[in-house]
């Protein structure tokens, strides 16, 4: 399966809107994590538009696909995508991180909003995804379980416990997309704590593992298609990305991991995104 030009255009527009929403949400909140979601926007948009069976129409179908955001701090992007899939109105994004909002600073499980798991503590998501994949298989459901993770999160030991058990149980309905931007809070990942070759690691743990340019939606789509036809093991897609992609002064700057743009920066960022 190759993306049609129309589908590719749709993904690119959705990814652009993720970036715009991320800037606006973190700017309005005065805090949050803009760098990650902007880097992840292209591969997450590819997943949500071309693969993930989750939208306003099938939200309550028990056998729909699931999405666990292991790197929960990047939830501005998740919320944007859920709203773009028609699960809740775009206006709700303005409540992000505000008192009383269901769009918490890190995801809180909410079946009405398509938020499939509470995350935020790094390392927990892949285990949860594996449990969901086991349940889907037990029930004979065709659900695919997607987990977003990151290079920094791969420093958590629980990730490798989960990688071991998911391979042991042959969870071919489980797919992890690892945002590999070589940046974490304290600086450059390779300097803070080098996780080295994640593709080789996942492969050694018994997974089908590939590396792609996380901004190349055709490549990401190809990897997701390959994962869907891999029927004997879970799949890992290592997505090489640029933190803060799309806004010149944010790109590759660890400072934008968890800081919101001020008025001037938000205006400039939105201008660069063509708003």
């Amino acid at each position: 399966m190759v993306l049609t030009p129309e589908r590719k255009h749709e993904i690119e527009q959705v990814a652009r809107q993720v970036r715009i929403d991320t800037i606006e949400m973190t700017h309005a909140a005065g805090c949050g994590h803009p760098g990650g979601p902007m880097g992840m926007a292209d591969f997450m948009a590819t997943l949500f538009i071309a693969h993930l069976r989750l939208d306003g129409g099938n939200l309550h179908d028990p056998d729909r696909d699931r999405m666990v955001l292991g790197n929960g701090h990047t939830c501005a992007g998740l919320y944007s995508l859920l709203s773009q899939k028609g699960i809740f109105p775009h206006e709700l994004l303005a409540t992000f991180r505000k008192l009383g909002s269901p769009l918490q600073g890190h995801p809180h499980r909410n079946p009405e909003l398509g938020i499939d798991m509470s995350t935020g503590s790094l390392g927990t998501g892949l285990s949860v995804g594996a449990g969901m994949a086991l349940a889907a298989r037990l029930n004979g459901w065709g659900s695919r379980i997607y987990v977003a993770s990151s290079d920094g999160e791969s420093q958590e030991g629980q990730i490798w416990e989960a990688a071991t058990s998911a391979a042991h149980y042959g969870l071919s309905n489980l797919c992890v997309l690892v945002d590999f931007n070589n940046i974490q809070i304290d600086g450059v990942m390779r300097e803070v704590m080098d996780v080295r070759d994640l593709r080789a690691k996942y492969e050694a743990f018994g997974w089908h593992a590939v590396e792609v340019d996380g901004h190349d939606v055709d490549a990401v789509d190809g990897a997701l298609c390959e994962a869907r036809v891999t029927d004997d093991r879970p799949s890992a897609i290592i997505c090489h990305t640029t933190l803060g992609k799309g806004v010149s002064f944010m790109e590759n700057d660890a400072g934008w991991h968890g800081v919101a743009p001020d008025d001037e920066q938000a205006t400039q960022a939105l201008a660069e995104l063509g708003v």
């Binding site: 503590s121 995804g129 594996a130 449990g131 969901m132 086991l134 989960a162 058990s165």
Partner: protein, 327 residues
Amino acid sequence: MLAKTSETTTVETPSAKKIATRDAYGEALVQLGGERDDIVVLDADLSGSTRTKGFSKAFPERFFNMGVAEANMMGTAAGLAAMGKTVFASSFAMFAAGKAWEQIRQSICVPKLDVKICASHAGLTVGEDGKSHQMLEDLTIMGVLPNMTVIVPADAVEARGAVRAAAELEGPVYVRLSRAPTPIVLPDGHTFEPGVGTTLREGADVAIVACGVEVGAALEAAGLLAADGVEARVINMATVKPLDEDLLCRAARECGAVLTAEEHQVRGGLGSAVSDLLARTTPVPMDMVGVDDTFGESGTAEELLVRFGLDGASLAKRARTLIERKS
């Protein structure tokens, strides 16, 4: 909603019959598995010891051995529960509660999922394995978690009921189980109700509030005290969270002194919970029997209970001193 009616059952002395609560768990689990096909069981390489092995043989398709990886086991349990399963996850209390606390908090308690953590080998009565395996802090770290119900069955009869209740309760439950065979202190046909304490012996000189293996010790202490003309009320507080507040406040009012007893650190467990309640509502002289800010050691279960002052005679002694403080 938890029912709030208390029942009184008269049990004079512990029966000679001894069964470990973990054995009752294993049996109850197999029975539940036959009744409900949404029950899934996980274990962390201790299925022989935690007694989940029976379920694994009866329902192999619904049992998953997660290996020696407790954090991942709790996360996997959360994922299964998020898809509608009722999940029982077992290991030794030390590892289930101790190693995986943050996963239990983040992935199970925060989203309030139906994961029932049935942890065996709790407390000193693990015995010879010693301090690395003697979990004495689990009631503290499980009880402090919002959405978590905490149950410490007094005997095998109650353990069966607690396991069934855990399956029916909404949200996470922690059930504390023992390795050592312990006396049956509750009558056959006793029905466990979450949040409901049981008065096992009437008395108005002092109330002894106990959970787990200490319920037997409390009954023994009451027998010793009765020989001196002291009538101790014995209350089995199997649900440590939420407490049966009405029953406890009434006991404090009517007895004027409350002694708690648990096979756990004296701070942060049943005694702390009861004192917290009574200090706010019905302050009376109190004392708390438990392990006093120290780790355990190797020995037989019975030796250790004596060594740490958790046997019936020690409880009776503490009760006498406490009664002297009544004004």
